[in-house]
């Protein structure tokens, strides 16, 4: 999923400073799962913002709405009937959702209420960790299901480096050495010989280095 964290309230309050009414829009997908921008977080932020305003002797009219997905135009369209209830939209979706709302409602200021962080998995309740960088050319089949691009601090294709110590990365003792994990996993699978294969330099054009990316499915595209 795409993970996110709410921005500091001070920053959000500065963004919406000129507004007397806002449309606060959450998203039922990734940001709900990582507890950053779902219905519950929308309610909490709404309450906090209103209290912050009332404390200053002003009021803030907040309309709360949570869409099924903010990154799909079909769902963003649902905002048509309520878009005028805010001087601006405050979106708790990831950056994709914020941009989709901004694209649809060109006359309306749209502000982000969360910082989009990374594509990750839940390690345990309340803890999320980065697992994929969307490099566009997946290597997991060669590395025992552990990604050296997302999980090795240096993105080494032929690791580990000299900074690996007792299974941990030199950047932080809490960070596992991805190449230690890869070796352990290959060993468990009886595929140690694969470790000897030298990976050639990666073609990063499939990643962000090739500019903004698109997927066009001819069978589906309208």
């Amino acid at each position: 999923m795409i993970t996110a964290e709410r921005k500091p309230l001070e920053e959000i309050l500065t963004l919406i400073e000129p507004c007397d009414r806002i449309l606060l829009v959450g998203c039922n997908e990734c940001v709900t799962v990582c507890a950053a921008g779902g219905r519950k977080e929308v309610a909490l932020l709404s309450s906090a913002l209103q209290m912050a305003r009332m404390k200053e002797g002003r009021t803030l009219d907040v309309t709360e709405l949570t869409l099924e997905r903010q990154c799909d135009p079909e769902y963003v369209e649902e905002l048509v009937t309520s878009i005028d209830r805010g001087d601006a939209v405050l979106s708790m979706a990831c950056g994709c959702g914020v941009q989709e709302v901004a694209r649809r409602f060109k006359e309306k200021p749209v502000f982000p209420a969360v910082n989009t962080k990374f594509m990750g998995a839940s390690e345990r309740q309340g803890v999320w960790a980065e697992r994929c960088q969307g490099c566009g050319d997946c290597l997991l089949g060669l590395t025992g299901g552990i990604c050296p691009i997302a999980r090795c601090s240096k993105r080494l294709l032929n690791g580990p480096c000299g900074g690996s110590s007792s299974g941990k990365c030199e950047i932080n003792p809490d960070v596992d050495c991805a190449w230690q994990l890869i070796w352990d996993r290959l060993k468990a699978l009886g595929l140690e010989s694969r470790y000897e294969d030298i990976a050639p330099p990666k073609d990063w054009r499939t990643s962000r280095d090739g500019g903004p990316r698109r997927i066009i499915r001819e069978d589906l595209a309208s």
Binding site: P8, L9, E10, K40, A43, L44, S47, A48, L49, Q50, M51, A52, R53, M54, K55, G57, R58, T59
Partner: protein
Amino acid sequence: MKEFEPIIVAFCCHYCAYTAADMAGSMRLAYPPNVKIIKVPCSGKVSAIHVMRALEKGADGVMVAGCLEGDCHFKDGNVKAAKRVSQVRRLLDEIGMGPERVEMVTLSAGMGERFARVTGEFTEKIRALGPNPVKETLAGRARAAAASS
């Protein structure tokens, strides 16, 4: 000037604090009439938004009262409640209201005396803090609504 009488909302777990409040009554122990009790099946049923809404609507202090650690009827509802109370305290601190208006307490059903004491202490703490700063705006809004109707 009339002395400020705080409104305290206390979310009380059915298995401990609510019974403890009852026990306080049976023991003829007075606790402040400022405390408005809301009975919940477990303190873990109290979400952060319940506490926030209570303050937003004008409560001066909110207390969440659950079972002693390890004694929750539903295993760890009280531990979850304590985490949510911490979350709300951080949030209130972020908006400049300070964390002191929200507190978590734990007690058992037999602790009537403790219930009377902690609610008394909390009420006095909130009295010293003064009214919830959102109240004045709320009252102004209510006056404006009354004048326009």
